[in-house]
C-alpha cells in the first residue's frame, strides 16, 4: 500500500482550498472596506471635514473699540464722546414658563409696566423678543441671577455723551449698525471705527477656545483712533447759550453760528438750533434736526458778501482805498432795478466805507462794474473777474473738505450763461442769486482779513492711532493769494468802521480791541422759483482781535419775526454777544499799537 492513498490526499487539498476561500473572502471584505474608506476619506473628505468641524470650530468677530472724541477745555482736553458697554435683555417666549412672575421681576428691575413685559413674553410664533435695550450691568446681573429659562442678555457698545446735546450736529451719531451718521462720526467713520479682529478656533462645549489646537487663528482688532477736536467746550457751550438766547429775542425758530480761528482755519465752536440729544437720536421726529446747517445748508448770504466784493475790487486794481463815485441809488439792469434801502439817503457821492457801512447794493454793483473797467455798466470782463474771485479766490461753489458728513457746495452762477446774466451778477455782488454755507463764508472772510491765505477749515486738532502715535493736523493753506496782504490790511479798518457806526447793546472798546463786521439780510428763495415775500435770513460775519484778527464769527438767523432788517435786528446782536464773550473769557490779545 502506497504510503498515501487518494483518500489521504483529499483532506489536505480541501484544507488548502478552504484556506484559499477564506483568504479570498477576507480580501474581498477588506477590499470592500478599502473602497468604502476611500470613498469616505478621499472623495467625501471635504464634506465630512466640514461636518466634523462645524460642531466645534467656531468663528468669533472681536469688535474694535470705536475711537473716543475729545475736545479742548482751556489748556486741557476732555472727552465729549465715549463708549459704554450696555446690554440688550431678550427672551425666548417658547421657554418662558411663568410669564407673570418673570414680568414682575423685569418690572421691578427695569421699571415700567409689568403688563407690557408680560405681553412681550407671551408673544407667539417667535423665539426672540427684545425686552429692553441699553440696560446697565447691575440691572442685567439682577435679572440674570434669577436664572429664568429663556431670558438672556447680550452686550453692546454704545456711544455716550457726557455733555448731553453739546455740539450734537457737529458730532453726529452712531446708528444701530455701528455706522457713523451725520457730522464728524460720518466723515471720520473709518478712522474712528477701527478694524474688528477675528478668532477662529476649536472650542469646547461652552465655546471656550482650546489653546492646543494649532489651526486656531487669532487676528487682534485694531482700535479706532482717538480724535481731539479744535473745539473748545467752554466756548461751544457759551455759543449755544447765546445763539439760543438771540434766536428767542429775534423770535426765530432756527439759526446757526460759528467761531473760527482765521489764522489756521481751526473751528473753535459751531452750533445750530434746534438741536437734539445724540444719545436718543432714535426718538427724534424731524430728521432735519440732524443736519449741521453751518456746513450743509447753503443760503443766499446777502450783504455779508459786500466786504468780499470790495476786497476783490481793491485786489484786482479796479479801485483803490481813496475811491469815491456818484451813487445814483438805483441801477436798471436787464430791465430790473437794483436799489438800496430807503435809509441810505438817496443819490450822492459815496466811498468804500459808505458801501459797507450803508450796505449799498448799488455800491457793490459799482464794484462789479469797475472790475470790468466800466463805471456805469456790467460787462463780460467784470462778470468773469468777479466769478474768478468767487470761484478761485474765495472758493465758493465747492466743498471746503471739513470733517463733516453731507457738506454742501453752494452755487455760483456761470458768468457767460443763462438769462439776465448782468442782473444775476449784480445780485451776486451783494450776496443774492448765489448760495454759500456759513462755513464757506467764514473761511473766505478769514482769508480776506488774515493777509490773504485761505486755510482749509478743520475740526480735528490731532489724532492718536491704535499704536499711540500722535498725528497733529497742521493748518493747510489752500490758496495763499486770495487777496494781497495790503488789501487785507485795508479792509480791516473799513469793517471796524462799520461796527463803530452801528448800535450794540454793549459798546466795544475799539481802542483796545479790533472788532469789525458786516450785516446781511437776504431774501429766501422759494423752491419753485422767486422769493418769499415777508421772510428773510439775517446774517452777520465779523471778527474780534487785537493787532490782528483772532476770531471770525458767522451768525445766521432764519426767518426772524422782529421788525426791521434781519441782519441788523436779529444776527447783529448775537454777533455782539459772542464778540464780548470772546473778549471777556477767551484771552483776546488787546492792541499794542
Amino acid at each position: 500500500m502506497p504510503p498515501y492513498s487518494s483518500g489521504h490526499l483529499a483532506k489536505p487539498i480541501k484544507s488548502v482550498l478552504r484556506a484559499r476561500l477564506w483568504y479570498v473572502l477576507i480580501m474581498v471584505i477588506f477590499g470592500v472596506f478599502m473602497v468604502r474608506l476611500f470613498y469616505l476619506q478621499i472623495i467625501r473628505h471635504d464634506y465630512y471635514k466640514r461636518s466634523a468641524t462645524l460642531g466645534h470650530l467656531k468663528e468669533y468677530e472681536i469688535p474694535a473699540d470705536r475711537g473716543v472724541i475729545r475736545a479742548h477745555n482751556g489748556s486741557t482736553t476732555v472727552p465729549i464722546v465715549l463708549n459704554q458697554t450696555l446690554f440688550t435683555v431678550y427672551a425666548d417666549p417658547t421657554l418662558i414658563k411663568d410669564a407673570g412672575k418673570v414680568a414682575e421681576t423685569l418690572s421691578s428691575v427695569l421699571k415700567g409696566d409689568s403688563r407690557d413685559y408680560e405681553d412681550k413674553l407671551r408673544t407667539k410664533d417667535t423665539r426672540y423678543v427684545i425686552i429692553s435695550r441699553k440696560v446697565g450691568k447691575q440691572q442685567k446681573d439682577d435679572i440674570l441671577k434669577k436664572k429664568y429659562p429663556g431670558v438672556g442678555a447680550q452686550e453692546q457698545s454704545y456711544r455716550t455723551y457726557p455733555n448731553g446735546s453739546l455740539a450734537a450736529q457737529l458730532l453726529g451719531f452712531v446708528n444701530d449698525e455701528g455706522k457713523g451718521t451725520y457730522g464728524l462720526e460720518q466723515a471720520l467713520n473709518n478712522e474712528l471705527a477701527g478694524k474688528p479682529g477675528q478668532l477662529k478656533a476649536v472650542t469646547d462645549i461652552n465655546g471656550v477656545p482650546l489653546a492646543a489646537n494649532t489651526d486656531n487663528i487669532l487676528t487682534e482688532p485694531v482700535k479706532g483712533s482717538e480724535v481731539t477736536l479744535t473745539i473748545d467746550v467752554g466756548m461751544q457751550q457759551q455759543l449755544e447759550n447765546l445763539l439760543k438766547a438771540g434766536l428767542d429775542r429775534a423770535k426765530s425758530d432756527s439759526g446757526s453760528a460759528m467761531i473760527m480761528d482765521p489764522n489756521t482755519g481751526a473751528v473753535k465752536a459751531m452750533a445750530n438750533w434746534p438741536t437734539y440729544d445724540p444719545a436718543s437720536y432714535s426718538k427724534v421726529e424731524d430728521p432735519s434736526v440732524f443736519t449741521n446747517a453751518v456746513v450743509s445748508s447753503p443760503l443766499e448770504i446777502g450783504s455779508t458778501m459786500k466786504p468780499l466784493t470790495v476786497a476783490a475790487a481793491l485786489d484786482s486794481g479796479a479801485v483803490n482805498t481813496n475811491f469815491s463815485y456818484f451813487d445814483p441809488s438805483r441801477y436798471v439792469i436787464d430791465d430790473f432795478t437794483v436799489k438800496n434801502i430807503e435809509e441810505d439817503g438817496g443819490p450822492g457821492t459815496k466811498n468804500l466805507a459808505d458801501v459797507l457801512n450803508l450796505s449799498l447794493n448799488t455800491g457793490a454793483t459799482q464794484m462789479l462794474m469797475r472790475m470790468g473797467g466800466s463805471g456805469d455798466k456790467i460787462n463780460k470782463k467784470g462778470r468773469e473777474t468777479w466769478h474768478d474771485y468767487m470761484a478761485n479766490h474765495y472758493l465758493f461753489g465747492r466743498g471746503t473738505g471739513i470733517e463733516q458728513g453731507y457738506e454742501a457746495e453752494g452755487i455760483i452762477p456761470d458768468p457767460n450763461k443763462g438769462y439776465a446774466r448782468d442782473l444775476t451778477y449784480a445780485n451776486t455782488s451783494f450776496g443774492q442769486a448765489m448760495t454759500a454755507t456759513p462755513l464757506q463764508l467764514g473761511a473766505a472772510f478769514s482769508a480776506m482779513i488774515n493777509g490773504g491765505t485761505y486755510y482749509k477749515p478743520h475740526l480735528v486738532d490731532y489724532t492718536i492711532n491704535d499704536r499711540g502715535k500722535k498725528i497733529v493736523k497742521q493748518p493747510e493753506a489752500v490758496n495763499k493769494n486770495v487777496v494781497s496782504s495790503q488789501v487785507s490790511r485795508d479792509i480791516i479798518p473799513l469793517l471796524e468802521y462799520v461796527v463803530e457806526q452801528h448800535a450794540f447793546s454793549r459798546k466795544f472798546d475799539q481802542k483796545a480791541y479790533a472788532v469789525g463786521g458786516k450785516t446781511g439780510t437776504a431774501q429766501i428763495a422759494k423752491p419753485e422759483g422767486g422769493y418769499l415775500d415777508n421772510d428773510y435770513n439775517g446774517t452777520y460775519v465779523g471778527f474780534v482781535g487785537g493787532d490782528k484778527p483772532q476770531y471770525v464769527i458767522v451768525v445766521s438767523v432764519h426767518k426772524p419775526k422782529v421788525p426791521g432788517y434781519a441782519g441788523s435786528r436779529a444776527a447783529q446782536p448775537i454777533f455782539g454777544d459772542l464778540a464780548h464773550m470772546l473778549i471777556d473769557s477767551f484771552n483776546v490779545t488787546p492792541k499794542t499799537r
Binding site: V78, P79, L82, N83, Q84, T85, K137, T160, P162, N163, G164, L166, V208, P209, L210, A211, A212, V233, G234, Q237, D509, A512, Y513, D584, P590
Partner: protein, 115 residues
C-alpha cells in the same frame, strides 16, 4: 600579600594544575528579538502618546486660565470705561453750571480793559 592577590594566585595555580582544556571566553553579541523590539516600540509609542496627551491637556488647562484672565481683563476694562464715563459726566459743563458752588457765584461785568 593582600587578600585579593593571594586569591588571584590561588586561581592561577588551579588552572596550571589542570594543564589543558582551558576555556577561553569569547564575547557574544546579544540582540533583542523581533517580539521584544515590537513590544519596546509599542511601549515607546505609548509613552510618547501619554507625554503628548499630558502636554495637550496642560496646554488646554492653560487655555482655560488664559480665557478666564481675558474675561477678567474685559470686565476690568468695562468697569474702567464706566468709571471714565461717570467721571466725564461729573465734570460736564451742565453739571458744573448747576452745582451749588456755581450757583453761589456772582457775575461781574469787566470794569476796564487791561492794557
Amino acid at each position: 600579600m593582600t587578600y585579593s592577590s593571594s586569591l588571584a594566585v590561588g586561581r592561577q595555580n588551579a588552572f596550571n594544575n589542570r594543564g589543558q582544556n582551558a576555556v577561553t571566553f569569547r564575547k557574544r553579541d546579544r540582540s533583542l528579538g523581533p517580539i521584544s523590539n515590537t513590544i519596546m516600540l509599542i511601549v515607546l509609542a505609548c509613552v510618547l502618546g501619554l507625554l503628548y496627551l499630558t502636554q495637550v491637556t496642560k496646554t488646554n488647562a492653560y487655555g482655560y486660565k488664559v480665557n478666564s484672565l481675558l474675561e477678567q481683563q474685559q470686565q476690568l476694562k468695562s468697569e474702567h470705561d464706566d468709571l471714565e464715563v461717570a467721571s466725564a459726566r461729573l465734570q460736564s459743563l451742565a453739571r458744573v453750571q448747576n452745582s451749588d458752588a456755581a450757583k453761589a457765584m456772582v457775575s461781574v461785568a469787566p470794569a476796564a480793559t487791561i492794557q
